[in-house]
Point group: C2
Chain length 195, copies 2
DNA sequence: GTCTATAGCTAGATAGAC
DNA sequence: GTCTATCTAGCTATAGAC
């Protein structure tokens, strides 16, 4: 309970990776840039990790934990409320607090086919999110809140839209933000059963 | 009309960039790898372009042209048919013909916030696609085929889902492919006005 | 555990012959 | 226009002092 700020070294490095990734992007990420976001030296990184990829994997584990907690912390049993809260979290725009993680994950995701080390942690992260969304939708159908859609397909489509909105948004700028929000809200509206 | 195979050098290099990008990913893309997909030497690349970024920008222009043509070639006036054809094209899975372009664009898209040179061409490409989708939806509403949704929001959401499905899919493997297809088909079904 | 220094390598880009 | 050879910078990772 004493990890208020001085977290352990590995967690600090995971944070440094997140910061460096958000600022420079994966393609330009270097251990020197990670060290620049880390209070200690570049060589110090290698005391805690064997390689740069190891540091990135540590960040992914941290990100998976944070996203999982965020989704788990939604404090309601109502499927519609839960789904809307999950969307708020997944569609969070760059610039809003916590969005750096999405941009960073998105970068790594697009590089996953070419990097075996990152593929595992990324699959874990995406699968967990997908499962949570599927559960929410399935619950909603069972309770009669949602129409009897295909839960897997709905969750996959929604998560794809969330992942895509991050990249799409950073490329085009803020002016699509409102459209994207209107888009997912309308999608969720369409799931709700007509009473 | 003699450009059947021996296209001009710049087009050949754009193709080499596409191939190298698909195989190695943006983060590991080097001029040596581009040259490996190019019939001539690495130094030859620099006779036609000033920098590696220039070569990538040339690929993006080529990709924009190809995607634009693909969408323009949809040979019908029926908005529903056009939208479904556009989705077939945008949601094309890795492995299917022509999908390499989507993966490559997706990689570059995620790096756009950190690279000014690529941002312009990418914005052009995504804006053009967005505009086409918006038009199709707006036409459909006007003709009474689609419900009176927000065309901009619908197009943005759909394009985000398409962009995301590429990255999402390559990270998780083929088993979400069917869910993603079911997802976008259900979404389009939901747009069609009840007669 | 953390540092400075640096080894060893590979990248992007250029020089100059042909 | 295309080549081979190479320059210089910047990268990952390690050595060895403290």
């Amino acid at each position: 309970m004493t990890d208020s700020v001085p977290a352990d070294a590995e967690a600090e490095i995971a944070q440094a990776v997140r910061a460096a990734l958000a600022e420079h992007g994966y393609a330009r990420l270097t251990t020197a840039k990670i060290a620049a976001e880390y209070p200690k030296s570049e060589a110090g990184l290698y005391y805690h990790f064997d390689s740069k990829d190891g540091m990135i994997a540590a960040f992914l584990e941290f990100a998976a934990g944070q996203l999982g907690e965020e989704l788990a912390d939604i404090d309601t049993d109502d499927p519609e409320t839960r789904l809307r809260a999950a969307c708020e979290s997944l569609f969070r725009l760059p610039g809003e607090e916590g969005a750096g993680v999405h941009v960073a994950v998105m970068e790594l995701l697009s590089h996953a086919p070419h990097n075996e080390t990152l593929r595992g942690p990324l699959q874990t992260l995406e699968s967990a999110t997908l499962e949570t969304l599927t559960e929410i939708v399935a619950d909603g159908i069972e309770q009669g809140t949602f129409r009897p859609v295909d839960p897997e397909a709905t969750a996959a489509f929604l998560l794809a839209a969330a992942d895509g909105s991050t990249g799409f948004h950073v490329a085009l700028g803020m002016d699509v933000g409102a459209d994207l929000r209107a888009g997912w809200e309308a999608y969720v509206d369409g799931l709700v059963a007509d009473t």
